[in-house]
Symmetry: C2
């Protein structure tokens, strides 16, 4: 049974966008007469590298929630769990180019790759220089050594944050891209899910998972994870997740990190903090210090029950960029 | 079936608090060797009226999520859906009194009233002056004319925000209390729920609601609402909710308001924005202008599916206070 607040399922994405634009008119606008082409209200920013993202709907605050001061300049919005079109990406690119070129930062999914590549070619014909960084940091989605196959999930937040702060400093496109690559290389994520989601236009659960079961490593569209098994205690789940993340970079004694505890949709913040308690214990035992902890919903999958853990290894440069203030309708941070 | 990330259900609240304190050590601390007595890390603030709240767990960011700069100074934390004890309230009061007295701001529930009244008497014996404001703005919980019987729900956010900003200006206790009363008198809320919650120590749903049903006006502990019926479209649900709120104050053409679209736990932000689209349409038709819209989780009920709408009528004084910056681990706002 689909219990959702909806009008027509096929109008879901556009009505959501109408709601967002009417709630935050000082911060966001659409361009090209297309609700799915969202940019900062003050775009373009002359003399600043433009940052664009894009992806399917159903993951708020991903993707468009990171459009705003200190973060991104624009976002192409797709249907639920569907890539936006290359034309929409191009419209966003045109609207945010301030003369220093545009960097695309998006998750490693085949539809998004294809469309962003096409948009890059079209922008090139208009003499807008575009570079791309494809985020993929889910350790459950491909083994070490095949990092290029990994899916992009909540850890993309750190890439947006650091690249956004760098672009605000007036850095050129190559330098902003270097920061995006460096941030992306320093983050690892893994998720766990307890329940499926219902895509409004489909009307039934996207997959099934037994009453007493969980799946470790599941992706944000229900992609298969590492293993499905009986639900364990919070401490056991976190231990298994951290056992996947920590050796992968690896994170070692003396490292300083930021941690992102990301709710996938229906899991209460209370449970995220119960889980973080164990994360903190494990990191402390390993001699890894924690600079800043984010707890909340940063990359969701509609009403999925579950969460992900992202660990972001810092150095002075990344820490300085992470600490900068940011402000969008979905994310605010004072200077740390 | 209880699908939650837990260790021992009876340790849920304390483990959550350990997680919160380890995640945000620069912002929060506990006092009196009791995890359930939470105050700002820099408490007490000499020369500032102290603001305290308290209530049951299971509603994050209510209540302790509003402890921080520009908002509150301390919070007594109860078990899930249970009032904290008067002794805990007293410890918080002692820890935040900066010499100008303490204002309690809490929701209108009998257990909380009894315990905060007792704490007030105990503080009085220690010559700490305490005043209280009991928030109650859920229009579904009692009819107009019996406002004193109404439950406090998400609208208490506006009371915290305005009173917190006023206290930061150095205002005295009477003046801060006047603002709390004024803010509380200017807000109305109504909720709708689609699914029950499971309290960890109970282990089964708190109430039942049919597969195709919703309940308009339900409280954040599952208290009965105005009517139960078949699930309607988002627009129909919002229309019925606004028809309860708008005549109650009443809100009229020419008014300026802030709107809070509050997710109760499992409802995705996407759906909150679909709902806000209709709120904006209704307000626009009535000639009511909107200054600032908050969309997210501000007062939850664990994993309940549903949302509430709060409408806050502004004047220059309240608008100025609402616009001030604030920063807690759960809520950040730059100056509007």
């Amino acid at each position: 049974m689909m219990k959702k607040f909806l009008n027509k399922p096929e109008a879901f994405v556009d009505e959501m966008l109408q709601g967002i634009l009417s709630a935050h008119p000082d911060q966001l606008k659409h361009v090209a007469d297309d609700l799915r082409c969202i940019v900062r209200a003050d775009a373009p920013k002359p003399g600043k590298v433009g940052l664009a993202t894009g992806g399917g709907s159903g993951h708020l605050p991903l993707f468009l929630g990171y459009v705003g001061k200190g973060l991104l300049d624009g976002c192409a919005v797709g249907g639920v769990f569907q890539s936006p079109g290359a034309d929409q990406m191009l419209e966003v690119t045109r609207a945010i180019d301030g003369g220093k070129g545009v960097l695309y930062i998006y998750g490693n999914y085949s539809g998004d790759r294809m469309n962003f590549d096409m948009a890059t070619e079209m922008a090139d014909m208009e003499e807008i220089r575009v570079e791309s960084y494809v985020a993929g940091e889910d350790v459950a989605s491909a083994p070490k050594g095949e990092e290029h196959k990994r899916r992009g999930v909540a850890g993309i937040f750190y890439v947006y944050k650091c690249a956004g702060a760098k672009a605000d400093e007036g850095a050129d496109l190559d330098e902003v891209k270097r920061i995006a690559e460096k941030a992306g290389a320093n983050v690892r994520t893994i998720g766990v899910a307890l329940s499926p989601v219902i895509v409004p236009e489909v009307g039934r659960p996207s997959f099934t998972i037994g009453d007493g079961e969980m799946e470790i490593g599941m992706g944000i569209h229900g992609e298969p994870g590492i293993r499905r098994g009986s639900l364990m205690t919070a401490d056991e789940v976190v231990q298994e997740m951290m056992d996947q993340i920590l050796p992968d970079l690896p994170y070692e004694s003396g490292d300083e990190v930021s941690v992102l505890m990301n709710g996938l949709g229906a899991t209460p913040k209370e449970e995220l903090y119960v889980a973080y308690r164990k994360v903190a214990e494990i990191l402390s035992e390993k001699g890894i210090s924690v600079f800043k902890v984010y707890v909340g919903e940063f990359a969701t999958s509609l009403e999925m029950t579950g969460f992900s853990i992202s660990v972001f290894k810092l150095d002075d440069e990344l820490k300085g960029l992470l600490a900068k203030p940011a402000c969008t309708p979905f994310f605010e941070q004072v200077e740390l």
